[in-house]
Amino acid sequence: MTRLWPGARIGLAAGAITVLASLIGMVEQFAKLHIVADALTMTDILLVALPAIAGALASRRASPGGRGEAISAALVAGVASAVPPALLVLVGRSWPLQAMFVNAGADLYDTLLWGRGYLALFGVDIAAGAAGGAVALLPGAVRRALVHAAVAVIALGAMAGLIRPILSLYRGIDVIWNTGTAVLGGDGITQLGTAVVFAFVFVVSLTGQPARDRFDQWLTSRSAAAQSGTRTFGRGAGVFVTVAGLLVLPFLIGSYPIEIVDKVGLFILMGLGLNIVVGFAGLLDLGYVAFYAIGAYTVGVLTAPFLGLELPFVVALPVAILAAIVAGVILGIPVLKTHGDYLAIITLGFGEIIRILAQSDVLKSWLGGAQGITRIPPSFTLGAFSLPVFGRVDPAPPQEVYYPILLFCLIAVYITWRLRYSRLGRAWLAVREDEEVAAGLGINLVGTKLLAFATGASLAGMSGALVATKVGSVFPASFGLIISINVLVLIILGGVGSIPGVFVGALVLVALPELLREFSDFRLLLYGAVLVVMMLTRPQGLWPASSASHEEADEPPPEPGAGAAT
């Protein structure tokens, strides 16, 4: 009996998570997201994945005892994972749970039982557990390839709703249109597409590493000159393609996806800024949204008809950035003496005070009170023009604001990167790691921290200025603590202090919920879970910052995104 307990415990945990997910409404919401058209929804995947993962974990744990042990552990986990949902249904059908748990309705119970009954529930869970257990026993490369393939199918299916409108831009090109529609059906990936994508990714994953190794071997076998020539060519080509791609992106993917890209860009800007404050200098600023708000409100006040100023954006922008910097210094000075938790709380307090003031009647005549400021003109208008392949193009506002955002992101990346590998960047790192020792080495703590605050604030101000022109209005309600937390989660997920990490974090945390509307209800819940899980398992983030190697004085440090060493 005791032998069975570890597996059972894992299974029960998986079952508990299923129950929790059901009660908060995830299970029902996910049913709206079709992955494989007319066949699988996200709910199906969720209800199968949990016992499967339980089985895999149980099997892994018991594997020292041999394959038989592993499989039986997985089976036990599978059975156990069905128990909590079964109990939920049992209880829910006899008592009015719905009076308390809003989602505990008959539909939920049907879903949990697969529309058939308890046997179906147990059957599926046992099978999933066994499958998970078996996969865990496979050799590493095969196992990873299977996981990659499955994730690819799910990802494609989830994003099908987004890719289709992009596809329809290319309706004229038969090759693209036909393959596209063959793979992506009306609502998710087609069954044919599933098979194709699965097989393709599986094969690529399996053969990927050996192929890369062989390529590296071939490369080193050539002369040193040829090597560096190839590398420079590769790098140059990569940069060229990226830049070119970025420039025409709005026209490649259409105006709805570009909206998402815009939002990602704004968060990248803020993420880079907060990365300096938190990641480089180690100051946990929870009031970061204040600088964003100041940038936005400055532009609003200066360019909108509200106060009658109506200055052009190019004038308002530097003023906004300057205002943010000044605010950064003013807010920074009193805060400098505090540390760690207290610093976080004080900055949070400041952020909230600013929001309350912006919302209040006291400053209504300047800031518009709760109604905010409206009719902010856009920063930049492209107008219609002609392009090869696409013909006449009339960009929509999201496509227009993309360019200023892109420009400022590039500027911000450049500034951040320069600073990181400089005297100031090193001073920040020293202050973060051990500020007493840093002071003992001649670093002026006050000045260094203020510079971090000011630089971070300037980037947030930039972002705020842009968002004001993008949305066309500013309301105090949109500048709450949530945004500071958003940016914080983003840089933590990507890797505190890591520049490519900001991109990763922004992509995952901003793009994903946008793309997957069915997740949006649970966005903040997932953020919270992400924070906790990341801190418990991988506090350095998905793309951790690493120290620069300056071995050759004549070779510049690697570009961000060019590899892991950044």
Partner: protein
């Protein structure tokens, strides 16, 4: 050796440091002659590291003066100002920046000697670039000097213990100090490494002309290298003089309970032996916010935490 007419590198006059009701240092007078190598010894909790902390500005003594080169009173100056006046130190339980590479650790020591400002950095001016090149070559030179050539790209926390101590000295030297305070530099070293360190310290003084003061527990080191030894106990100076003068003084022997080196240095971070003197004041920098790297054991009870 030292010019009689030159002002002493450091003159400590009547320094008293109290923590609440506890007196960690009581009316201490001490003189470090220019270009000398001297040692401060005493049982754990005697106030030695507290003294270093007062000199470098982390603690402010309640009374007294600390005169650098006869003119600058270091008391009440900021630590970074004191560093810029030419005072550098290492720490009892090695406070490197563990997640940075060796060469980055040293480059941080160069901070005050460089001058690139934020706009200059962003604009990547020629002056900034030249300064960075200088920083790299100077750091390499210092790595060489402390015997860590070629190890510049290793993470500080991955270096072997002896190398870490040497890196810390290298980092301190990067500030171009005229006064170098070493807090237990041979702690945790085997005899071979220890004698290397002794030679190294002598060479430092000979080549760079700096004044060096050590806190040490290893009596072989103390006796062989010091031109002057100051003995402390309970925050007071109980003896001072040359090694011969000091070793036979009864107060010194009593303070050490008759043995040569019964007080071992606390090897960080595994040693959790509590100070055996109840009521001894916290001997080191108390910092609630020292970030410890993930894989070293957490701060422990020992004063070396």
């Amino acid at each position: 050796m030292t010019g009689e007419s030159a002002p002493p590198a450091l003159r400590i006059e009547g320094v008293t440091k109290r923590f609440g009701g506890l007196t960690a240092i009581a009316r201490l007078d001490m003189v470090l002659p220019e270009r000398s190598i001297s040692s401060v010894i005493g049982p754990n909790g005697a106030g030695k590291t507290t003294l270093f902390n007062c000199i470098t500005g982390f603690y402010t003594p309640e009374e007294g003066r600390i005169l650098l080169r006869g003119t600058e009173n270091l008391v009440r100056l900021r630590p970074d100002d004191i560093s810029r006046l030419g005072v550098a130190r290492t720490y009892q339980n090695i406070r490197l920046f563990p997640d940075l590479t060796a060469i980055e650790n040293i480059m941080i020591g160069l901070h005050a000697r460089l001058s690139a400002s934020l706009p200059a950095i962003v604009l990547n001016t020629r002056a900034t670039r030249r300064e960075e090149e200088f920083a790299i070559s100077e750091s390499r030179r210092l790595l060489d000097l402390v015997g860590l050539a070629g190890k510049g790209d290793l993470l500080a926390r991955n270096l072997p213990y002896g190398d870490q101590r040497r890196l810390e000295i290298g980092r301190a030297l990067a500030t171009e100090p005229s006064l170098l305070l070493l807090d237990e530099p041979t702690c945790g070293m085997n005899p071979h490494e220890t004698s290397e360190m002794i030679d190294f310290i002598r060479r430092l003084r000979a080549d760079l002309g700096i004044t060096i003061c050590l806190i040490e527990h290893d009596m072989r080191v103390v006796m062989s290298i010091s031109e002057q030894i100051t003995v402390m106990d309970f925050g007071q100076k109980i003896a001072e003089g040359t090694p011969e003068e000091v070793r036979s003084r009864p107060e010194v022997i009593e303070a050490y309970l008759g043995s040569g080196s019964v007080e071992a240095c606390l090897v960080p971070p595994a040693d959790t032996a509590a100070s055996n003197r109840p009521g001894a004041p916290d001997d080191t920098l108390a910092s609630d916010d020292t970030v410890t790297p993930d894989d070293t054991p957490p701060p422990s009870l020992s004063p070396g935490a």
